[in-house]
């Protein structure tokens, strides 16, 4: 089966990406509205229209509700939801579906009003596993991820971990300061700002935590043949990996310091026939600064515990040797809840050379990586602008 998998490398392309019309605080638009705006914007980006879409992918809602809202009657449908990595994983599914002949034009949509819905209190008890956590006040990502971060500190040193988290927060903000769409476009962050920000759930400062915004995004994927008829340079999907190793209870995670990226990273690279050194841009889901640290290690960019050295001295900032999260990431650009799709949007724009002031000198191959749930699921894709 490995050879069949490998034979799909480069056999579909992303031809359209876009966000919804407005990101940040958008109380006048519903989550479905963000899906719909982003879908039309991404199809415009591709030079295609709603009537071309025959494969529909989303997470959070059922695809049948997105289909109805947009007026699409797809003949391939996929509502796989494994948290924020879902939309990266949809790319892997689209690649397979297109090559199986199940659909030709795949539309992946996302939309959430994380900020404007925020007044709603999470009641807990919605999922069977919540009975073991919510009554204790163990609810939501910050508390759960903070426990994983504390474990990392124990294994690899508190001070160097703290410095690494600060490096990531500060470098990501520098990229956001170059992205007009970023929530913190106009607001700089110093190391002191980071260290002085309030505690959310120790060891997490406020500035370790992602934004909570309203936003949507969409991606259009099609066959290599059909891609020739679209507006822009197609971005080929070279490698994919997906999976998960626990669910809604982080206490059941096999190793709190290693995500399932340990599997999906190497598998995507193997499929693509690429090595880490070939990657010009890493777009890594940054729900927390700590998520980036453990993901870099899990994917294999560096060894366990080596992350703090890997990200030291602002190498991940503009001008640095390892460009990371050039949009400003979930930390400083936008994070409506399930952010994964936005890693792909930025990767495609960098590969096309569309990112203006923050454009990388060389960007031929990019990695986009989503994490979902409580470090539960991961999806990795490798993309290229090379023909």
């Amino acid at each position: 089966m490995k050879s069949l998998r490998k034979s799909l490398s480069g056999k579909a392309a992303i031809v359209g990406v876009a966000e919804s019309d407005k990101l940040g605080k958008v109380p006048e638009i519903s989550p479905l509205g963000h899906h719909a705006q982003a879908a039309h914007n991404a199809l415009d980006d591709a030079g295609l229209s709603i009537s071309d879409v025959d494969g529909l992918f989303t997470a959070g809602y059922s695809t049948y509700d997105i289909g109805e809202y947009l007026g699409i009657e797809p003949t391939f449908t996929d509502s796989t939801v494994v948290g924020g990595s879902s939309f990266v994983i949809h790319l892997a599914h689209a690649l397979a579906a297109i090559n199986a002949g199940y659909c030709e034009v795949a539309l992946i949509t996302h939309g959430q009003s994380g900020r404007s819905d925020r007044a709603r209190n999470r009641g807990g008890g919605g999922m069977p596993a919540d009975q073991y956590t919510s009554p204790y006040g163990i609810m939501g990502p910050p508390i759960n991820y903070a426990m994983a971060a504390r474990k990392y500190m124990e294994m690899y040193g508190e001070d160097r971990t703290r410095q690494a988290l600060a490096e990531i927060a500060v470098s990501t903000r520098k990229w956001a300061n170059m992205n007009e769409k970023a929530y913190f476009y106009d607001k700089t962050m110093s190391f002191d700002d980071y260290h002085e920000s309030r505690w959310v759930s120790w060891p997490f400062h406020l500035m370790d935590c992602c934004l909570v915004t309203d936003a949507g995004a969409a991606i259009v994927v099609t066959s290599i043949e059909k891609a020739k008829d679209t507006k822009k340079n197609p971005i080929k999907i070279l490698g994919v990996g997906e999976g998960h190793d626990h669910g809604s209870l982080i206490s059941q995670m096999p190793d709190l310091t290693r995500t399932f990226g340990r599997n999906t990273g190497p598998r995507a690279l193997e499929m693509a026939g690429l090595d880490y050194k070939d990657i010009d841009l890493a777009m890594i889901y940054d729900s927390f600064t700590h998520t980036v640290l453990v993901t870099l290690e899990s994917l294999g960019f560096c060894g366990p515990g080596e992350g703090p050295d890997f990200v030291a001295n602002q190498v991940t900032a503009p001008g640095g040797s390892f460009p990371l999260n050039t949009s400003g990431g979930g930390l400083s650009y936008t994070h409506p809840g399930m952010y994964g799709i936005f890693t792909v949007v930025e990767a495609v724009r960098q590969l096309r050379g569309e990112t203006g002031e923050r454009q990388l000198d060389k960007c031929d191959i990019a990695l986009a990586h989503g994490t979902g749930g409580l470090l539960s699921s991961t999806g990795t894709v490798l993309l290229t602008s090379n023909n």
């Binding site: 596993a129 009975q131 073991y132 919510s134 609810m139 903070a146 209870l249 206490s251």
Partner: protein, 132 residues
């Protein structure tokens, strides 16, 4: 103050929560395989041949966080509090709270010995842990 969040048991976990109300932490045992949380089958081999055992109540601290921002209105009066994962003597990990100690990072060492206790959430007892 907002009403406390109570566990909503599934059929497989009724015994677990009834046990907690009797001051017992109950675990499922299938042959030599002990698991947390209760399920309809063994995670090892799918066995349905379940036996319930009472945990010794001895545990060690696996990891923790000190919660400053309440995740729900019912925890406003609780912050700061210690949310944790502990490793039971029986070898399984479970989420819980640590009580009986000031919520300061320097008071907590991973691996420290803990013992079982219970707190009350509006009539449902919850297993928690405190330093030995």
């Amino acid at each position: 103050m907002a009403e406390k969040i109570k566990p909503i048991p599934q059929p497989e976990s009724d015994k677990y929560w009834e046990g907690a109300n009797e001051g017992k932490l109950l675990l499922q045992k299938f042959g030599d395989h002990i698991q947390f949380y209760p399920r309809a089958v063994s995670t090892k081999d799918g066995s349905r041949d379940v036996e319930w055992i009472e945990a010794s109540g001895k545990a060690t601290l696996y990891t923790f966080t000190i919660v400053h921002q309440p995740p729900h209105p019912s925890f406003v009066d609780d912050v700061p509090y210690i949310a944790a994962i502990v490793t039971l003597e029986e070898g399984v990990n479970m989420p819980t709270r640590i009580i009986g100690i000031d919520p300061e990072p320097e008071n907590l060492t991973l691996g420290m010995d803990l013992k079982l206790d219970f707190i009350d959430a509006d009539g449902q007892k919850l297993p928690v842990f405190k330093p030995v």
